[in-house]
């Protein structure tokens, strides 16, 4: 059984002086509060979580990013487990500004080799630069691609063609390009 996240926070603060650690509560039923660590200390904190004898977070199962457009930051989320201790997950979060030039967080690939492809994916789709990553290049899109498709402000190519029953964003796009738009209820009623 893993210790409460509050206890882990205390240990982290004792082990990594100067680190800013914040507990972010999670609302879902299976509550998994996360540790939000500042960018400068996240590597040291992760190293501690991996090497501490009681925690032994030896497995990073998932790396992903979340785009918070309103808060103007991108959050990188790591899910850590301990195979040796059979506990987890411990959720580790780190935030970076959305501006692509400044959207940098330290790579945790040197600690967990399994992060390599997932950090490349986050780089590819969210534009997060992982400093210290051994091979940071796009993994899903082609190298010449310049956008970050999973960002909330991503604009897909304007290649709307035709949709038999457009709705929601597809309907908006159909209106934009003057495509086929189904009649409104009012227009339908006016039809002879």
């Amino acid at each position: 059984m893993m210790e409460a996240v509050e206890k882990i926070k205390e240990q982290v603060l004792a082990a990594v002086p100067g680190a800013s650690v914040e507990i972010i509560p999670s609302t879902p039923a299976a509550a998994q509060p996360a540790l939000l660590v500042d960018r400068d200390h996240v590597f040291a904190v992760a190293k501690f979580l991996k090497e501490d004898d009681r925690l032994q977070m030896d497995f990073c199962s998932c790396v992903t990013a979340v785009d918070y457009l309103a808060g103007n930051y991108i959050e990188v989320v790591y899910h850590l487990y301990s195979v040796a201790r059979r506990h987890g997950p411990l959720v580790l979060k780190v935030r970076a500004p959305r501006e692509p030039a400044d959207c940098r967080v330290p790579s945790l690939t040197p600690l967990w080799r399994g992060c390599e492809f997932q950090e490349r994916e986050a780089y590819d789709l969210f534009g997060v630069t992982f400093t210290g990553h051994p091979d940071l290049r796009r993994i899903l899109m082609w190298d010449e691609f310049t956008d970050f498709p999973m960002r909330k402000d991503y604009e897909p190519p304007r290649d709307y063609e035709w949709e038999p029953t457009p709705h929601d964003t597809t309907l908006e796009r159909a209106r934009e390009v003057g495509g086929v738009v189904p009649p409104t209820a009012l227009e339908e009623a006016k039809k002879p």
Binding site: L140, M141, W142, E144, Y154, D159, W162, E163, T169, V180
Partner: protein
């Protein structure tokens, strides 16, 4: 030149089989379609099932899946064509010798399917290569693929070899190369080969009267 069917059957009774050269050509061509052995997604599993013993594509003379485009007559685009994969598919098509045919198998290959609104999936392979038969379905059953092969066989059987009406590939000067799209900064460039493809139109409001008037 057509042969009188009565004369033909009379000759056949005497062991003489007459057939126009064109018919013989088309018959041999349609009876031995060698598909290219490649699959892109889940439709490929159905394609493999079609070729295996239960559905037995060999009954239709199309069982020799070739692992090289140089020996293939038919490209079965079986699965989702991502934008990253599209140039490679067109390149394979260009490497196939004429006469060559294409079957777009499944919702993704004909239109992008459930991924149509995505940023990463081509909205149908007919944007870059000419498709002979489209099969809807997600994925289409092996019977549907077999039906598509039979449809293609009918198409091949109807090929006109007369001067002037013969297919493009009888012209030695005709190019068999289709432009391979390049990876652009935002999308494939060009997003479609407009020489062989134009955007779909809405025909819902078209009545039979307007069609008859125009005709």
């Amino acid at each position: 030149m057509a042969i009188d069917p009565g004369l033909k059957s009379e000759l056949q009774k005497h062991g003489i089989f007459t057939i126009p050269f064109e018919e013989l050509y088309n018959w041999s061509r349609k009876s031995s379609i060698w598909p290219l052995q490649f699959g892109l997604a889940c439709c490929a599993i159905e394609m493999i099932a079609s070729a295996a013993s239960r559905y037995d594509l060999a009954r239709f003379g199309a069982e020799v899946f070739r692992a090289t485009p140089r020996q293939a007559d038919l490209m079965i685009v079986a699965g989702t064509v991502t934008k990253k994969m599209a140039p490679q598919v067109v390149r394979l098509w260009n490497q196939m010798p004429e006469p060559k045919y294409c079957i777009a198998m499944g919702a993704c290959a004909i239109s992008g399917g459930p991924f149509k609104d995505g940023y990463n999936v081509l909205k149908g392979i007919d944007r870059y290569i000419p498709v002979d038969v489209h099969i809807p379905g997600c994925p289409p059953r092996p019977e549907a693929l077999i039906h598509a092969i039979m449809t293609l066989q009918r198409k091949i059987a109807g090929t006109d070899l007369e001067e002037g009406r013969r297919p493009r590939w009888y012209d030695r000067q005709a190019t068999t190369d289709f432009p391979i799209p390049a990876f652009g900064a935002h999308d494939l460039e060009p997003p479609a080969n407009r020489e062989i493809w134009s955007p779909p139109k809405d025909y819902r409001d078209v009545t039979i009267e307007t069609v008859l008037k125009k005709g």
